[in-house]
């Protein structure tokens, strides 16, 4: 087990390094220099040089990269060019919002998708199955922003309901917080539930065809035991893999949904950074999101190994 975990962690290291290099390179390739962005084109060369020195922009790229990444490893993501505030504390406080949103969305999607997927597999080719499949197809096809806009439209026109404005943290006022979060989380959850539903349906069907299900039935098991104790348990493995990958769609979706519902999350911070050309902020946010994504995938892999007794740990 220890070997397995170590190996997986070691496999992640080059990916993390690659991610950071990629982000760094992208930031260096952005046309138009940062200094003109801050000082305007007419700034004197002396002032420009001063500012370049302040941000270390006059040094070779490799040094700049190592300096940046060294800082990141020590928890120093640099400062915002606009506000001069340190970036990491801001990222962490905003990540709370994004994390709550994605976790809530993930739970909502599982609660919808897994039971419906099992139902569709068990009642294959019936009306229920057809309903679930259409629902899943819609879930896969309807973009979260389109769903958000349409829902807001319907809610406001038909029910005179407006999504509450002004974010309140969960710890401050849990009820109000949930009121604010539930609609964006549900939208995000529904839009990713389609693929979980499809995966659940197809993998449960696949397992139900296997020999050991016949053994279970031959032992006198009820359908409930055969389906939940045996088929679903085996089908969970591909489902978990998918769920790990969906964290990416959720984090990406959060960028959009946060924007629509004015939630002060990481996505919103990233977009603001891009629009204000505050590249250290963008750099920090994207790096953080990518790291989280890689980390979650690593965790699902480890979970996978924990659930499946066939995976040997060495």
């Amino acid at each position: 087990m220890k070997n397995y975990i170590l190996r997986r962690i070691l496999q992640v290291v080059p990916v993390l390094i690659g991610i950071s290099i990629l982000i760094f390179a992208v930031m260096k390739m952005i046309p138009g220099d940062v200094i003109s962005g801050i000082l305007g084109v007419e700034a004197t060369p002396e002032l420009r040089a001063q500012l370049a020195a302040k941000y270390g922009l006059d040094r070779p790229y490799l040094v700049q990269y190592l300096d940046w990444i060294g800082g990141v490893l020590h928890g120093d993501f640099g400062e915002s060019i606009r506000t001069s505030a340190p970036i990491l504390p801001e990222i962490l406080s905003r990540f709370k919002v994004t994390a709550e949103l994605t976790i809530l969305a993930a739970f909502i999607s599982w609660i919808i998708a897994i039971p419906l997927g099992v139902l569709a597999a068990v009642k294959r080719n019936t009306l229920a199955d057809r309903f679930v499949r259409v629902f899943a197809l819609l879930g896969v096809s309807v973009p979260n922003f389109a769903l958000s806009i349409l829902l807001i439209l319907v809610l406001s026109l038909a029910f005179s309901y407006f999504p509450p404005l002004g974010y309140v943290g969960f710890l401050e006022d849990p009820l109000r917080n949930l009121q604010i979060m539930i609609l964006p989380a549900a939208i995000l959850g529904v839009t990713i539930s389609g693929s979980v539903m499809r995966m659940t349906r197809s993998s449960v069907l696949e397992v139900l065809r296997q020999d050991f299900i016949k053994t279970v039935r031959a032992k006198g098991a009820s359908e409930r035991v055969a389906i939940f104790r045996h088929a679903l348990r085996n089908a969970l493995i591909p489902i978990i893999t998918l769920i790990g990958m969906q964290i990416g769609s959720l984090l990406g979706g959060a960028v959009i949904v946060e924007q629509i519902f004015s939630l002060p999350g990481l996505g919103q911070m990233t977009l603001t950074g891009i629009n204000q050309r505050d590249y250290p902020v963008v750099q920090g946010c994207v790096l953080f999101i990518a790291f989280i994504y890689v980390l979650v995938n690593l965790l699902t892999d480890l979970l996978y190994a924990y659930i499946d007794p066939r995976i040997s740990y060495d």
Binding site: G220, N234, I307
Partner: protein, 335 residues
Amino acid sequence: MEHLLELRNLSIDLPRGKRQSPVKLVEGVDLTVRKKQNFGVVGESGCGKSITCSAIMGLLSYPLTVGAGSSIRFLKENGEELEITSLSPAELRKLRGKDISMIFQEPMTALDPMYTIEEQINETLRFHTSLSKPEMHEAALAMLKKVKIPRPEQILKDYPHHLSGGMLQRVMIAIALINNPRLLIADEPTTALDVTIQAQILDLMNELRESYDTSVIMITHDLGVIAETCEEVAVFYAGQVVEQASVEEIFRAAAHPYTAGLLKSVTSLGGEEKMLYTIQGAVPTAGNFGQGCRFADRCEYCESRCRESAPALTEISPGHLCRCWLHAPGKEAAQ
């Protein structure tokens, strides 16, 4: 009803949509299994032997169904007679794993990879008894010893992928016998195993037979396995029983040209003659049987009436049934 199991006019349908009539994969099968009897069912792939036995368990896989007019009657220990084809799902579940149990061809895939051996044995006990956890452990342990599994304490804690095919088949036998069933259906239990392991399993089954009152239906394509384990044998061909007799009778005096041909081609393997005896052609597929005898196209004794009408299964000597015009009553008169 004095016998343990009686199949009468059993047919199994494969539906072909609403417009067409279903394909009959198995048709008109009559079989009788007596108490404590070792009954062999032999035939080639696709002949319907396996699905016939699945039907006995009420375990036909989707979309197969038991055809109209079929009867499967089973005698319970308390003398109660059951018509399996009309049982409710709940009643069927009570029967499975308790009165009738089954072992399968592929031991490697027959157990759930996610649970330990002990959990899978306990499941069978839990469905049909009210034993406590320690009692179940004792029962499982005792059963593993009976099927001669070395280090049973350790094996109980193992997952299926830790064990070899032979060991898993022993576990399957343990699961099948732990509730002391009246009937054990063994569907090609040794086909996936190596010869030396097959020999171990066959020996084990022969030994266990002494201590259990269980009748066994042994499904196989291997005439050698039949010869070693069975008393009575039914030969399947293209969804029908073509011959049924005691094992001695079949091997000594096979009456149906198919059975005879099969035996001849297998026994000539060890013989001096380099060219083997062969049955020409291939088995017709279900749905393309035609109106005559289903073996007619491959039969060296085929005559015109074989193609015109199908022979019935008739008793040609006491206890020896055969479905062939060669042995039909009044054959001499007809000639």
